[in-house]
Subunit: 361 residues, 2 copies
């Protein structure tokens, strides 16, 4: 019998147990090939099938047509922070960024290493406690794109509506909420997500680009940093992170069996309702840090009245198998990262613990 803790890690994060069991089962011999998928050539039929199926699953689950290229790249979302401006900011153009948290800001700062950057909104002076009203986002005429981070992992905030940018391409880092809810992904010219929160293990990044946007990409870049290179080669220009793509496929199949985005959204809504319910039921003890309108469904952040109580809370939770809940070092407190693979039952167990802890404190 395997003893498993509840994994609230912010990323790399929990994977569905059903998926891990398949990975384990197939590890020494992938579907009768006599080899592990870890040893499979990326040019082998076995892997090409996985690659094609994963592309189709992304399109199917996110409701996208073949006018979107689906890429699986190495180097993490942080590589996209550089590749997006390298590919899409023309000479003399400016790129606009919405600054709602540490990762949004990291993307913007990397943008500054590549091009001129316009800050379309920032909640930095408000400790990133909130997401802007759409009317607060101001950008210049004809920026190359508007970049947002749809969910702010560290600060526990999330966009629940998206700017209508008209003909300005909307670009989003969706690393921490991709495929967690129904959404019109067709609004975006490009979005990307490190797999390690909702899609798979660390080491593979999903990048989705509309073909019209891709057609505007710069030429003359190093081949490896050109989206065109990867789109032209179905992510097989160089050796891709084979094992990560294989697990992504299994995770997407698992998601499909849960009823796709509509199904997982229902579960995710129930999970966040439980946790925010527990916070709002005792607001002087469990002090939510995000403004209510912008609360994240994926990362629930709170403080307790003292740092000592926070330490005790984290230690006691750990003893009950609730792990990975220490807030990011830059903000402190407690954070529950409740990505798709964290079950409703585990969250119920957590709010039960919260009630017991509060009463005994």
């Amino acid at each position: 019998m395997v003893r498993r803790n509840v994994n609230f890690n912010p990323g790399p994060a929990a994977l569905p147990f059903e998926v891990l069991k398949v990975v384990q089962e197939e590890l020494l011999d992938y579907q009768g090939s006599g080899m592990s998928i870890l040893e499979s050539s990326h040019r082998a039929r076995e892997f090409e099938t996985i690659n094609d199926q994963t592309i189709m699953l992304v399109r199917e689950l996110l409701g996208l047509g073949t006018d979107y290229h689906v890429l699986f790249l190495g180097g993490g979302a942080s590589t996209q922070f550089a590749m997006v401006p390298m590919n899409f900011v023309g000479d003399g153009q400016v790129a606009a960024y919405v600054d709602t948290g540490e990762f949004a800001s990291k993307a913007m700062k990397e943008g500054r290493n590549v091009c001129d950057v316009h800050v379309a909104f920032s909640s930095k002076d408000e400790k990133y406690r909130r997401i802007p009203q759409m009317s607060e986002i101001k950008y210049p005429v004809d920026p190359a794109y508007l970049h947002i981070c749809s969910n702010n992992t560290i600060e526990g905030t999330q966009f629940h509506e998206f700017p209508a940018t008209s003909n300005v391409p909307l670009v989003a880092d969706m690393s921490s909420d991709i495929a967690s809810r129904r959404l019109d992904y067709g609004k975006f010219s490009l979005f990307y997500a490190g797999a390690q929160k909702n899609l798979g293990p660390a080491g593979v990044t999903l990048v989705v680009i509309h073909e019209d946007f891709l057609a505007t990409a710069r030429k003359g870049l190093p081949n490896i940093f050109s989206y065109r290179t990867h789109a032209d080669n179905k992510s097989l220009y160089n050796t891709p992170p084979v094992f990560g793509i294989y697990i992504m496929k299994l995770v997407l199949e698992w998601l499909k069996n849960k009823g796709g985005l509509a199904g997982i959204e229902m579960i995710n809504e129930a999970k966040k309702d439980l946790l925010y319910g527990a916070i709002d039921a005792a607001p002087d003890f469990y002090i939510g840090t995000a403004e209510k309108a912008g609360r994240s469904w994926m990362n629930v952040t709170m403080r307790l009245p003292t740092e000592e109580l926070e330490s005790n809370f984290i230690a006691d939770a750990g003893k009950e198998g609730l792990r990975g809940i220490k807030g990011h070092r830059s903000v402190g407190g407690v954070r529950f990262s409740i990505y798709n693979a964290v079950s409703l039952e585990d969250v119920q167990k957590t709010v039960d613990f919260m009630e017991r802890f509060r009463k005994s404190a």
Copy 2:
């Protein structure tokens, strides 16, 4: 009972069965953590220990001191093709490349997207059949570095001595022969290797840089493409390919148990002697394609008298469980990739098959 084929894939390639069994065993619960290593935070103690141990194993096995930074990056060796010139070619400087095969040439072409390139030697007109004499390598005064590819996977050639570049930094792509033989790694200012041949699965690249060379790196690059960023953060600037690094650690431990580089060199020498012996015993039937002096110990390439015989050979070998031996599409023929994880017994089985096939043909 698991049925395993002999995996001669050129990369991603065979992993030691002992390593795969450990991976399988630990997959659902990594050493009592109650989580899979696939779900481990890169900031968790478990992973930081793995990261530190892997760095130490690289230094220990390759005989390097702490004056070398050891990095584990995503994006494949192809990302290094761009990062090396981005980081090390100053304004007005030229980078020198030795062109001995398809990957050497790919590195050089990517270099041209970044800086001025000088071709120090090329065997392209000789179908990349050979490695230069060291005296044939000619480069201009004060190039930023001299880049070589130590083993040419596709063409089956390998450097058995290295240019004495004096104060010109020597840079090498060692993707397909790293850690396969004793070598003075201290000759190199920088070397890198995609893990998927001798070190682990696809998705992680080992980069080793001498601190003095790193000190000369350019500033003002995107952070993610700056070696300094990764060296300053022990590869934890952004989320690294956690699972790939974990497997690399297991592979390096396996290698240490085999007697390190001296031990594996003995095995690799016996393997290549068997295969080249079989070729040289019937040189009109098994036609080695590489010049003898530059034959690779890792990729043994040959043609048969007709393409039909080649097809039959590959098909018959496949029936005996010898897989992944089709030559690269650019050169045809047959290629045995006999990286560290391919055993001497499996190579013996292969030469036995070769003799039977030849006699029955």
